[in-house]
Every structure is written in C-alpha cells, then in structure tokens.
Symmetry: C2
Subunit: 351 residues, 2 copies
Amino acid sequence: MVHEVATIPGDGIGPEVIDAVQPVFDDVSERFEFDLELVRYDWGSERYLESGSMMPDGGLDELAGYDAIVLGAIGHPDVPDHVTLNNLLLPIRKGFDQAICKRPAILFDGVESPLEGYDGGDIDFVVYRENTEGEYADMGGQEHPGHGHEVAVQSAVFTRTGTERIVRAAFEAATEREGRVTSITKSNAQAHSMVFWDQIVEDVSAEYPDVTVERLLVDAASMDFIRRPEAFDVVVASNLFGDILTDIGAIITGSMGLAPSANINVSGEYPSMFEPVHGSAPDIVGDGVANPLATILSAAMLFDHLGETEAGDAVWSAVTDQLADSDAPRTPDLGGSATTAQVVADLRTRL
Amino acid sequence: MVHEVATIPGDGIGPEVIDAVQPVFDDVSERFEFDLELVRYDWGSERYLESGSMMPDGGLDELAGYDAIVLGAIGHPDVPDHVTLNNLLLPIRKGFDQAICKRPAILFDGVESPLEGYDGGDIDFVVYRENTEGEYADMGGQEHPGHGHEVAVQSAVFTRTGTERIVRAAFEAATEREGRVTSITKSNAQAHSMVFWDQIVEDVSAEYPDVTVERLLVDAASMDFIRRPEAFDVVVASNLFGDILTDIGAIITGSMGLAPSANINVSGEYPSMFEPVHGSAPDIVGDGVANPLATILSAAMLFDHLGETEAGDAVWSAVTDQLADSDAPRTPDLGGSATTAQVVADLRTRL
Ligand SMILES: CC(C)[C@H](C(=O)O)[C@@H](O)C(=O)O
Ligand SMILES: CC(C)[C@H](C(=O)O)[C@@H](O)C(=O)O
C-alpha cells in the first residue's frame, strides 16, 4: 500500500516539529509494511515575505492529488495574521471541504493539569468543530472608512449541509464512546444562527435515541471546561466556539504541545489534513525544544485515517507510554528540560 | 441626596439575591446619609408565561427616569433563552446605550481558585466588554427553511462609535491601574470586523503613550486566563468575546457567585445597570443558598457610579473582610453550607 502525503512545515516551530516526526514515519511504515511517500512544500510566511504569496498559484490543485496533508504551524510576527491564515490554512480547510475538525482533549497519565485535583485519566473528551463556515465565513465589509459613522460587518454563515454534517459526525462519534453529546451555542444572543443550529441538533438527535444531548451556552461551556471537564464526552461546536473551546481543552489537559487535530473531508474527494493545535510559537523558534508530541499524535490520527489503524495505535500507545514514564524526557512546556530530538529518540524506542 | 433606583429581580435566584441586598441598601444609605428610593419591577419569565411579554409596553420608558437599575437574573427553563434575553436584558443594555460593561475579576483573599497554585490576591484584572453591538447585533435571518440549501446568517456589527468608546474606556481605566491593556480579537479568521477593531486600538493607543498594549487572539486569551491570569490588568473585548472571557474570569477567581458587573451609559442620558454576572440558576432556586455577594459587589459599583464612593468602598471592604475571614459563613458555591440570609447577616456586622 502506498500513501502519498504532502507535508507543509509552515512557520516558526512548524518545520521543527515536522522534521521531528520524520523518523516516526519511517519506523512505522517499515514496521507495518506500507509505503509513505512524503512530499514537502515550503509554503508559508517566509515565502510570502520573499514573493508576496503564501503558496503558489494553483497550490490547492497541487495538493489535491495527495491522500492527506500534514501541516506544522502557520503564523509569523512580521506578517499580519489575517494574511497568513487567509492565504494558506483556511483556504485548505475550506477549499478541500474539511468539514469535520476532530480534536481530542485527554489528560494523559503522567501529565499535570493546571486545574487543581485533576490527575491523568480524569479528562477525556473530544470536540467536533465545524471547520468550513460559521463565524469564519469570509463575508462582510466596511463602510465610511475613517468617518464617525464607519461600520464594519462580519457575517457568520451556517448552512444546513454544513451544520447537519458536523452534528451528525458528533452523534456518530458518541455512539462509539459514552453516548453523550454536548452542543454549544449562544442562542440567547445570536438567535438568527444559533436557534437554527439548535433545531438541527434536535432533528439529528431524533435519529440517535441512545445518545443523550446537553445544550450549553458557549460562556457556560468555557466555565464548565474548567469546573467539570470530566463531565464531557463528545462536544459539538461551531467554527469559532470550537476554536475557543479546543484551546481551553488543550490547556486544561496540560499543554498545547500535546493537542492533535484532524481536519476531515468526509466525502473523500479531497485530502484531509492533520496538524497540531498549537501555533508557530515564535518565542521558542530555533531553540530545539518544541514539543513534537502534538504533531506525532496528529500523525497517529493520520494513520487511522489512511486505514493503517495498527500503525495509528502503535504511535498513540508509544506517546501515552512515554508520558506515563516519569523518567522519560520531556520538553519545557511539560516541565522538563529535554530537546525535541531527545523526546523523539526516546519515543522511537517505544514504537 | 436622593437616588432613585429601579430593581428588576427577574427569574430564578434573581429575586433571592435582590431581596438579600435590601438590608445592605438600608444600612448603607442610613450610615452615609443619602436617600435610596428603590422601586421594584416584577418583570421576567413568570410574567411572560402569564401574559406573553417579559415587560409591559413602554417598559423602557418607565425605567428611563431612574438614576440606575439593579437587575437580578434572567433565564427560565420553560422559556427559550432567545425570548427571555431579547425581550428584557438585551433591550435594556442596547436601548439605554449601556456601552461599557465593566467586570472585575479578582481572586479575593480567602477564596480558592480551581487553578493550582493561585492564592488570594494573585489575580486582579478587569474586563471592559463592549455591550451594545458586535456579535450581539440582532441582524441576520434564514432562507430556504427546511431545504438542503437552507442558510442562516448572523451578522456582527461594529461601529466606529461603539468600538472607540469601549477601547477608550479601557485605556482610561488602565491609566488608573497598572497601565496595561490587552485587546482581544480574532483578526486571523474575522478580518472584516477584527482588523477594524485592531485599527481603532492602534489609533486610540496613540493618545495614551504611557499605556502598553498587548493584542491577543480570543482562543489564546481563553488559554492565558488559565495559564497566566496574573498577567492581565485591563482587558478589552467585543460583546461575545467579553461574555466568554468574563465567565472564565469568574470561574478562575473562585465562583460565579462573586462576579459583579456594571453596564454603563457613558453619556448619562440613560440609567446604567448593575447586575451579577451569574444567571438564574434554576437548580438551586428556592433553596435559600444563592450567593448574594455578586449582587452586593454590583451594588458597591452602583454606589460608586452614583457618586457615593464612601458607601461603595464600605460595601466592597465588608465583602473582602468577610471572604478573608475563614470563620465567616459561606454559601455552598464557595464550599460552605451557609444560607444567603446568614451571609447577609454577617456582612451587615462588617459594614
Ligand atoms: C490559526 C487560526 C486561524 C486557527 C483557527 O482559528 O482555526 C487556530 O487557532 C486553530 O485552532 O487551528
Ligand atoms: C444572559 C446572556 C444574554 C448574557 C450575555 O451573554 O451577555 C450573560 O451571559 C452575561 O454575561 O451577562
């Protein structure tokens, strides 16, 4: 079996974490006997600063032929965020109709939570985030620039197609887990969009009589992720609410350096993309201490997606083993002083 | 001096907390020699269930004549949230142009944070939340109901007037505090509105050379409220982002039962409104254990607003005294077993 995967290391620590997982790819493909053809695309902010564009014309067409994409991180201190993101990451998510963003939030054994009284194993939920529309729609504009009556409008767009498929994916996932879905809205203040979302949750839930549904406002949910994170199983949220909640999910489970994600194209027509939740972390670039585990866990999700579930399981277990071992090397975000390379070297012994 | 104040106890525990502060109003007005004329309006969900409307026609006109409003809580299990909120709370905030929502987040001495390693005094910031527009604009709609191509649009509206005044209020506040403003955006994904916001922050900051400015994306900020809450001084945010962040601010400082807020009409043309951040808490209604301190701290902010700063200080100090006293009664949200009435009785001895 040959899997063709495009890698986009991107900005900041992106290249460091992508380079770091290379040996893991090698080990795993050898052991589980499949071919992984990785092709690297040096797109991102450096390219933008040199040539004025994050990726070449036709970049998406180029990527379209791959089985999947692995992305490091995007974001650069010298380039405005709306330029970096709107010209590479978001076009991939939207252009390849990667409707389902799946982000597990797990407090692994051996990892410390900033929340008092929570130990490894106490937190284990997954967020299904809508990934192509909602509050991230590129719709809106400004009028009367500079005048007192200047106004900027940003429109969130929710389609039935887009909403139904993320909600259905969450219910599907719940049937494989503990059978509980928490739907996040802000229906009290955003009646035009969120009452529509609520209605779809109600409709879809009728198809899943064994799944229980809780509705939570986004402000209450942000609190409850801190107050009772153990209570969640599957959380389904819009693009923006999912963005906020998955960052909270990452921090309460110990580190952004441990949070993986999958951006899934459901139809299979386009490649899906796997990326750590963390950003480009300009403050530690070049120090060689970026935590590679979020990218490695994302790779585990990639293997699952490619049908190489044994490989996915092996990688996932190696990471949980390493974290549970108090003698294993840890990067500074986890309170250790190991380098990226040391963590990877140790991990390979556990594969 | 006579101050005429309308009280709207509202739903759930709203009436319990409003009743509880009545004796505090009495004590303080007597001690500091001003007249407080409180007029109670039994508007809210019970009224809606009986008569079909949360408040009578002309309700806002009725309130307009008061010097200020104190509100308990709004929200009822039998009434959809978008009905309760869009017909009482939000019309007051918007109708009375209460542009500045000021919400302190303080970890008081004697109060436990769910964050490991944080003690009383370690967290002390204030959020300035835009309160009349942004993502709460009642603008949008649905098309093609029920069809596959159904779409719902919810438009966020940011005016220069609205944005400038909240940003300026935050910078003003920073000059009285530690001189640091953190502006919250999501400019990377919402360029139409948030780049406009960023521009106004930049313009206004030029008028305050002694105030330092940090820009933070809302997802990163939600994390940083957990990871480094001690780092914040004044936080300025849009309506939705402020909503989410102030709930996080409340929970990391120990309890929603301690978080006060002021909704300020800057021009003075209309009354400002003071309310606890917490909701109507249907689960504990009637148990007599609602924490009255958020409402009492909101009353302290009311006194300041009315120019009765000695009264405001006295109430604020009485609360901090009580919380610092480990023998003082505490409601269950703070780990105690006292009733609302016991907390108030104890508080009166400290006024
Ligand atoms: C970089 C940014 C556009 C992105 C998002 O908001 O989706 C990031 O925060 C994430 O969560 O993947
Ligand atoms: C009840 C709701 C509309 C309100 C808001 O979102 O503003 C509340 O959460 C708050 O923070 O005051």
